[in-house]
Structures are given as structure tokens and as C-alpha cells.
């Protein structure tokens, strides 16, 4: 029995009106990777915020025992001094500063009056080597991809002499390769004696790296599974998370596929800034009525770029190719025209590009189709309210009222509002870009049901997703995209994860 490094005992944390944590217990052994899973809003992040001192001692009940002593952290600095370092889901790096500057931000080398740049850069490059990032410390953060930024965050944690590393959704915005590399890095650290706590929705990754899994539901610890003694398969974890067996993660649907609704021929798009770089290369796809078409591929394959360039040329430069809707060629030069031709694009970035967080649900619901609730551009507010309520009920959005600001909703409910907004625009073709990113298993299922409902109404759905099981489980047909090109087309029933990967790999090796 290894030494217990951290024990959180009977932690209870209440916010006005809500009990976020209710007698939560967590025991972490030295040198293990401990996973924390649970649906969104279950209290995982709150627990980690208690641990790292973001919620100071006294604002919660219970004890944190670290390395044998009871800790009373007042601020993050206190927990970091003990070697507890948290890496948040939203990366906290400053784009116009170098890797080295970011790594030692708030922890500068040298004296208050003079930063020792040699030490800063020297130490930074040592740490970069440890995390396996081949960049110079002087590189600006804005010039490296998200995957590499995540590695910088880890190097930054190491710079603080981390003994207990907490990673909140570290792979949420990484592609499969980068995620894999990150997980391998964690395993390597483990061998060297580092203890980590990882919060993730990606259960396959958790099964892969974790030694123990603690499941949290509704603010309470449900169980802790041990890799050595318990079954830690995905379905077993899901059962703990939702409190019931999710026998089928994807709702069944009888496909009723009709004629071709949208056809894209020889579509080319260049990068808006580096105009010689082709991001979408001679793409031709077809979408039929009542069909769910998946576009699979790694991050950076050009899927979002393809979708946005189709949607009224809202991305890219020197766009060429033909777009047919209902057999007729259309030229959509603006988002307005795209909406008018019954095309909708539901963004992958709901907070940044999709919703107005400071506005209520009702205003967000109607924004893309204000004409439908107004008379000569005068808004019928009663009708607006009624529409918002109708969609709230249709999509089962959980909220006290449609007057609620969208910013106060959970990720899954925000996604529903975003879907409602585009469903109200009454499109024939909906392009859904990562429709279930960062939302929990239960909400995912509900989103899948909505997708099925849409195609049952005779609409077509194009689903872009980085989660392969979702693409395989939901789509009738799958296009595989890589480096801007379509490198494969698979039937939904025959496709497997391996088949998709092999198409990608084959195309990549051909390119080199």
C-alpha cells in the first residue's frame, strides 16, 4: 500500500441556493494517476477549486490533508507552494508573449527589479525538453497550435515544482494524435513518481491512463474504481456517472433517405491570411434529404473551414467551386443569402461564435430569424417569448425561464439554445460543427435525439465531429477529410474507427 499523498475528507461547499459538493471524499495515492469523472455540473471542477485554494479555507467544510498535514489554503499561491498545480480547461496563456515568458509568469526568475533572461530561457528549454516540445523558448504562444500550448501549460506547472498535477479536461481541444502524446507524457511522469489527477469526459482515455477512477454525481462521491480489482470499461464508468445503464449511447433511427439536397463540386478555399495556403482542396460532397452525413478527420483537416466557406463564404479567400441546393446552382456570398437558401451552420465555438452570453435565451433563440417574429422590422415581443418557450420545451432546455441569460446555463443547455436558434431559422440543411463538444453524456444523448428528429422531418444534417464513436454511431454516410481533401467515403454501417484512421494515414503517407 503506497502512501496516501492527498486526502480530501467530507468536503461540503455551498453556493447561495445550491449545494455544489456534499460530503465528498477523495483519496489519492502517491505516484498514481487518479481520474475524476462525472457529468457536467457534478462538482468536479468545484472540488479541484477547493483543493487549489481558489475557494479559500473557511468557505467550505471538511479537511484537506496533504502529505500528512491539514492544509488551509488561502489562495492559489499557497497550494502551489506545496506543489499542487492545476491546469485549467481554458488555457491561460498570453498569445503575444513567448513560451518562456508565459512559463514563468508570476514566478519570474531573477529579482523584482531585473529579470534574469538567461536563466528564464535556459530553464524553459530544459522543461520543454522534458515535455517533448520542440520549440525554442522565444517562440510566441500565438504561433503554436493548441496541442503544443497544452504542453507549455504542463511545462509551466513543472516550473512550479509540481508534485501533484491536476489537469481539467486536458484533451478537450486536442486532436487524437496530440491527445495520445499527452497521455503518454502523463504515463512517463507517473514512472518518475509524479502524482496526477485528471478530469475528463473522454472515457476511453481514462480507461487507458488511470489507476483509479472516482465517480462524482450531483455533488457526491459515488464510488472509486481501482484498475487492479474493478471493471473500468467505458460502460461501467458511464453506469456510475448517470446512475443507470446507458445500454445504447446513440438513439435508434430508421433512415428515410431521399433525393440529393445539397451538392458541392470542386470546392477550393484558401487561407484568409496566408493566401497561398490551400485549406480546402477540390472537395466534392453530396448530402441527401433525411440523411446524417458525417465529416470525420483530425483537427486541422479543413472541416470547419469547408463548412464556414459554404455558409455564405464566412471563412476563407479565393473560394471557387459549385454549390447546388435542390439541384439548382446557388451563389451564396453572404451569411444572409445562405440563411435565405435554408442553410445553417451551427458553430463549434458556442461561446465565441454562437451565442450572446449576456443576453437572455429568448433573444438568442430568435437572432438568426428576426423577420419571422417581426412585422416591417418591428419585433412582436410576445411572439418572440412564445417561440422561445416552444423551443425550450421541444429541446428540453433546463432553465428557470427564457428570460435567463445564456451565460448562466451549463454547456449542454447552451448547446441546446444554439440548436434552437438555428432550428428556428428553419433550414433544410444543418451543418453541425462539433455539436457535443464539452457536454456530458446525458446531454449528448438528447442532442442525438434532436438530430434524429430533424432528419425525420426531412431535413439533412452534416455532422462534423472529432469523436469517432459519435460519427460512427450517428451517421448514415461518412466522409473522411485530411489536409483539406476528402480521402474517403464510407457507409455508416460498414465504417469502423480503424477504417477511418487507415484512410487518414494512407492519405498522409501519400502526401509525404
Amino acid at each position: 500500500m503506497a502512501k496516501i499523498l492527498l486526502e480530501m475528507k467530507n468536503i461540503t461547499k455551498t453556493f447561495p441556493g445550491v449545494k455544489a459538493l456534499d460530503n465528498v471524499n477523495l483519496k489519492v495515492e502517491e505516484g498514481e494517476i487518479h481520474a475524476l469523472v462525472g457529468e457536467n455540473g457534478a462538482g468536479k471542477s468545484t472540488l479541484m477549486n477547493v483543493l487549489s485554494g481558489i475557494y479559500p479555507y473557511g468557505s467550505y467544510e471538511g479537511d484537506i490533508i496533504y502529505n500528512g498535514e491539514v492544509c488551509k489554503f488561502d489562495k492559489i499561491k499557497d497550494s502551489e507552494a506545496k506543489g499542487i498545480v492545476i491546469i485549467h480547461q481554458e488555457l491561460a496563456l498570453i498569445p503575444y508573449m513567448t513560451i518562456a515568458e508565459n512559463m514563468f509568469l508570476g514566478n519570474e526568475r531573477g529579482t523584482k527589479l531585473k529579470i534574469n533572461w538567461n536563466e528564464t530561457n535556459g530553464r524553459a528549454s530544459e522543461l520543454l525538453k522534458i515535455v517533448g516540445l520542440k520549440e525554442t523558448p522565444q517562440t510566441l504562444i500565438k504561433d503554436i497550435g493548441v496541442g503544443k500550448q497544452q504542453l507549455v501549460e504542463i511545462a509551466k506547472a513543472l516550473a512550479k515544482n509540481a508534485k501533484l498535477l491536476i489537469l481539467d479536461e486536458p484533451t478537450a481541444s486536442l486532436n487524437e494524435d496530440d491527445s495520445k502524446a499527452l497521455l503518454e507524457l502523463l504515463l512517463k511522469f507517473k514512472k518518475e513518481g509524479m502524482t496526477s489527477i485528471i478530469i475528463s469526459h473522454k472515457l476511453n482515455e481514462i480507461s487507458y491512463v488511470a489507476d483509479k477512477i472516482t465517480v462524482i454525481r450531483d455533488g457526491s462521491t459515488i464510488e472509486t474504481l481501482d484498475k487492479k480489482t474493478d471493471d473500468i470499461s467505458e460502460s461501467r464508468i458511464i453506469k456510475g456517472m448517470v446512475g443507470r445503464e446507458l445500454s445504447d449511447r446513440f438513439p435508434k433511427r430508421e433512415p428515410k433517405i431521399g433525393d440529393v439536397l445539397m451538392e458541392v463540386k470542386d470546392w477550393n478555399v484558401y487561407h484568409p491570411l496566408y493566401t497561398e495556403r490551400k485549406v480546402v482542396d477540390n472537395v466534392s460532397i453530396q448530402v441527401r434529404k433525411g440523411e446524417v452525413v458525417g465529416i470525420s478527420g483530425l483537427m486541422g483537416a479543413g472541416r470547419t473551414e469547408l463548412a464556414m466557406s459554404l455558409f455564405g463564404k464566412s471563412y476563407g479567400d479565393k473560394i471557387s467551386g459549385q454549390l447546388f441546393l435542390n439541384g439548382e446552382e446557388v451563389h451564396l456570398n453572404s451569411v444572409q443569402e445562405a440563411i435565405k437558401h435554408k442553410l445553417a451552420y451551427v458553430t463549434e465555438d458556442r461561446k465565441g461564435n454562437g451565442l450572446i452570453l449576456s443576453n437572455p435565451i429568448k433573444i438568442n433563440t430568435t437572432l438568426a430569424n428576426l423577420d419571422a417574429i417581426s412585422n416591417h422590422s418591428i419585433i412582436d415581443k410576445d411572439k418572440e417569448y412564445a417561440v422561445a418557450v416552444e423551443y425550450k420545451e421541444k429541446l428540453k432546455t433546463k432553465c428557470p425561464s427564457v428570460e435567463q441569460n445564456v451565460g448562466n446555463l451549463s454547456g449542454g443547455n447552451q448547446q441546446k439554445v444554439l440548436l434552437a436558434k438555428w432550428m428556428f431559422a428553419n433550414p433544410d440543411v444543418l451543418i453541425l460543427d462539433e455539436p457535443t463538444r464539452g457536454i456530458d453524456v446525458g446531454a449528448k444523448y438528447e442532442i442525438y435525439c434532436i438530430i434524429n428528429q430533424l432528419v425525420a422531418e426531412g431535413k439533412s444534417v452534416v455532422m462534423i465531429s472529432s469523436e469517432m464513436p459519435e460519427v460512427l454511431g450517428m451517421c448514415d454516410r461518412i466522409y473522411v477529410m485530411n489536409e483539406g481533401q476528402i480521402v474517403g467515403e464510407l457507409d455508416g454501417k460498414e465504417a469502423t474507427q480503424e477504417l477511418i484512421m487507415s484512410h487518414i494515414l494512407k492519405a498522409s503517407s501519400k502526401g509525404e
Partner: protein, 396 residues
């Protein structure tokens, strides 16, 4: 539960409560002088330009906390052109008015073009405008004062001197019956509209609010309108500039809350990218905000020269600050997307009351500026802190 409601109520109507408290304070310190009919009337004529400019400024601020620094200079420039045309060039008054509006709109379009389509930061564009139009005002006026005392129709129309009131059609008693009647009609219309809205709502099966609260609100607002018109009636009646102000307030309150265009201003300020991807031309929204600011600056220019019966190269100084201050005191967010016309008007009235009250108390001009500055700071601090749930210091 009840406590919760009181807190919400206080939060929602903070500035109105502050306004009442401040007015009461000055009424006490000036032995009620601030409530004298004459002073109520001059509160309106003195601050007409603030109401007009603050309304326009709100639209700019809504688009993302963008301000227009040039309004003071534009007011002066437009006024200068009008005065020179009417007095030195003997141009017909109506033609001059048209030219003034056209100049204002052109200036708005000019600045709006750079801001909206070329995406030069509004702060820079309007800072440049502030210098350019101040300079041009001097050029147009040749550095001199042009008196428009003899353009009586113009002066009467836009309010200012002793005769700038709506004439009393019921002869001349001590009380201006026309004004009182207007107040009564406004009250009746207001109640009628409120009731009609409730009725259509319940007929269509939509939720209606609590009847008691609605009645209380109606009664309160009716009392304010009636008391206000009674005060004005005791003086000389409705100042003609009040008509302009009311029209501007009503039109813009309607546009911002009930039209799709109004909705776009809020949407752009809330999240520009999302707005763009919802099929809304965001460039046009920015352009409209500044175009409109030019238009309202022209109107404020007319009001200003009519009140002072002259045009001078120094007019309009710090007007932009009055307008911006009113918006923030009135609850507009410095980040955009939040703010209402009624809120801004309450902010402007509060500023006006403080100005007038301190003048009546004989507070030194310089100290008045200090107080105004502190009030602005306090209002925004209050807004920010109350949104943070009452915590004074932001979390580190």
C-alpha cells in the same frame, strides 16, 4: 424570499432611487428652490442637448463600449454653419435647417465609414473628428460670435429665450391650461397603452405580470407626468425644446426595444462574431450608430445655438463628456450590449439635477466638476460591484 425581491427591486431601480434621494437632498438644501416651476423648466432647457446626445451616444456604446468624442465639436460646427447661413448669408431658415442636418449626417457617415468598414478604432477616429471640427468651427465663424437674436422663428422653434414655449390656446390665466391638458392626455394615453398591452397579452394566452405591481407602476408614472406638467404649467408652459427631446426619446426608446435594427445594436455589443454568423451585417450596425450620432449632434447643435441665441467657436465643449457620463450613470455597460434609453435619460436627469442643485446652492464651478466626476465614478463602481454580488474587490 421577500428579502430577495427587495434586493432585486433596489438593483433594478437604483438610479431612480438615487435620483429621488438627490432631488430631496437639494430640495432640502435649497429650501425647495430646485422644485420651483422656473427651475424645473430650466432643467429641461439647459439639459436638452444632453438628452439628445446621450440617446445617440447610447447606440455607439451599445455596439461594444465605443464612444464618440467628436460630438461637442460637431455640435459647435453645425451650429456655426447654421448661424452663418441664416445671418451672414441670409439663407431661408428651413433651408438652413436642412443644410445643418445634412452636414451632421455627412459627418456621421464620414466617421462611420472609417470605423465600420475600415475598422479604425472609434476612439481614434472621433478624437481626430473632435480636433478637425473644432478647428473648422473657428474657420467658419472666423473666430467671432455670430448672433442669431433676429432669427426669432428659429429660436422659438428650438427653444431658448423667453418666448420659446408652446402658446397657451386657452388665453392667459396664471396656469397654462394647454400644458396641463397635454399632461393629462399623456397620462391617459400611457395608461391606455399599458392596459391594451396587458389585454392583448392575456388574450393571446401569454403570461402577464402581477396586476398589483403593474398598477403601482402605472400610478407612480402617472403622478410623475402630472406633477411635472403642473409644474411647467405654473411657469410658462411647455418649453418648445421639450417637444424635440420627447420625440427623440420616444423614437429611440422604441427603436432600441422594439425593432430588429435596435436588436442588432445589442447583439453586436454582446458578441459580434455570433451576430455576424447569424446573418447580420455588423459593419452596417457600426456605421448606423455613428451616422445617427452625426444626425443627433446636428439637432443638438440647433438646440444649442437657439438657446444661446448665438454661435461661438467655443460652444459644445465637454458635451461629449456629459453624454458619455449620462450613459454610464444610466446603466449602460462599458463593454457594450447593455443599456436602455430610459436608463440613460434617468442618468442625464440625475446629472442635470446635480448641476442645477449645486448652482442654486452657489457651489463653485470647479467644485461642481469634482462632484460630477465623483458621481460618475461612484455610479460605475456601484454597477460593477453589484453585478459581482456585492464583493468590492475583484477576485485575484
Amino acid at each position: 424570499m421577500n428579502k430577495m425581491k427587495t434586493a432585486d427591486f433596489v438593483k433594478k431601480y437604483t438610479m431612480i432611487i438615487v435620483l429621488i434621494v438627490v432631488t430631496a437632498f437639494f430640495a432640502w438644501r435649497t429650501d425647495g428652490a430646485i422644485l420651483l416651476p422656473m427651475n424645473v423648466s430650466s432643467l429641461i432647457s439647459q439639459n436638452a442637448y444632453v438628452f439628445i446626445l446621450a440617446t445617440g451616444m447610447l447606440l455607439c456604446i451599445l455596439t461594444g463600449g465605443n464612444i464618440d468624442l467628436s460630438v461637442g465639436s460637431v455640435v459647435c460646427f453645425v451650429g456655426a454653419i447654421g448661424a452663418v447661413l441664416m445671418v451672414n448669408k441670409d439663407v431661408n431658415m428651413w433651408v438652413a435647417i436642412l443644410v445643418m442636418f445634412a452636414v451632421g449626417i455627412l459627418i456621421g457617415a464620414f466617421q462611420g465609414f472609417w470605423i465600420a468598414f475600415v475598422r479604425i478604432p472609434p476612439f481614434i477616429v472621433t478624437l481626430a473628428g473632435m480636433l478637425v471640427f473644432r478647428g473648422l468651427s473657428n474657420v467658419v465663424l472666423d473666430g467671432m460670435t455670430v448672433s442669431i437674436k433676429d432669427c426669432t422663428t428659429f429660436v422659438n422653434l428650438f427653444g431658448g429665450g423667453a418666448n420659446c414655449y408652446i402658446p397657451d390656446i386657452f388665453g392667459n390665466g396664471t396656469i397654462n391650461m394647454t400644458c396641463l391638458l397635454a399632461g393629462v392626455i399623456a397620462t391617459v394615453l400611457f395608461i391606455f397603452m399599458q392596459m391594451k398591452d396587458r389585454m392583448t397579452k392575456s388574450k393571446k394566452g401569454y403570461e402577464v405580470g402581477n396586476m398589483g405591481a403593474a398598477v403601482a407602476k402605472m400610478v407612480l408614472i402617472s403622478i410623475v407626468i402630472l406633477a411635472f406638467s403642473y409644474r411647467l404649467a405654473q411657469h410658462k408652459g411647455i418649453p418648445s425644446v421639450l417637444i424635440w427631446v420627447i420625440v427623440v426619446i420616444m423614437v429611440y426608446a422604441y427603436i432600441t426595444s422594439n425593432t430588429t435594427t435596435g436588436r442588432y445594436f445589442y447583439a453586436v455589443g454582446g458578441n459580434e462574431k455570433a451576430t455576424k454568423l447569424s446573418g447580420i451585417n455588423t459593419n452596417k450596425v457600426y456605421f448606423l450608430a455613428y451616422l445617427n450620432m452625426g444626425f443627433l449632434s446636428a439637432l443638438a447643435g440647433m438646440v444649442t445655438i437657439a438657446r444661446l441665441t448665438s454661435a461661438q467657436p467655443t460652444y459644445g465643449q465637454n458635451y461629449e463628456m456629459d453624454a458619455i457620463g449620462s450613459c454610464f450613470i444610466g446603466g449602460a455597460s462599458a463593454y457594450g450590449g447593455i443599456g436602455t434609453v430610459p436608463g440613460v435619460i434617468v442618468g442625464a436627469v440625475l446629472m442635470g439635477v446635480i448641476n442645477l442643485g449645486m448652482s442654486l446652492m452657489g457651489v463653485d464651478q470647479n467644485w461642481q466638476k469634482v462632484v460630477k466626476g465623483l458621481v460618475l465614478l461612484a455610479a460605475v463602481i456601484f454597477d460593477v460591484v453589484s453585478k459581482r454580488g456585492g464583493k468590492m474587490i475583484a477576485k485575484n
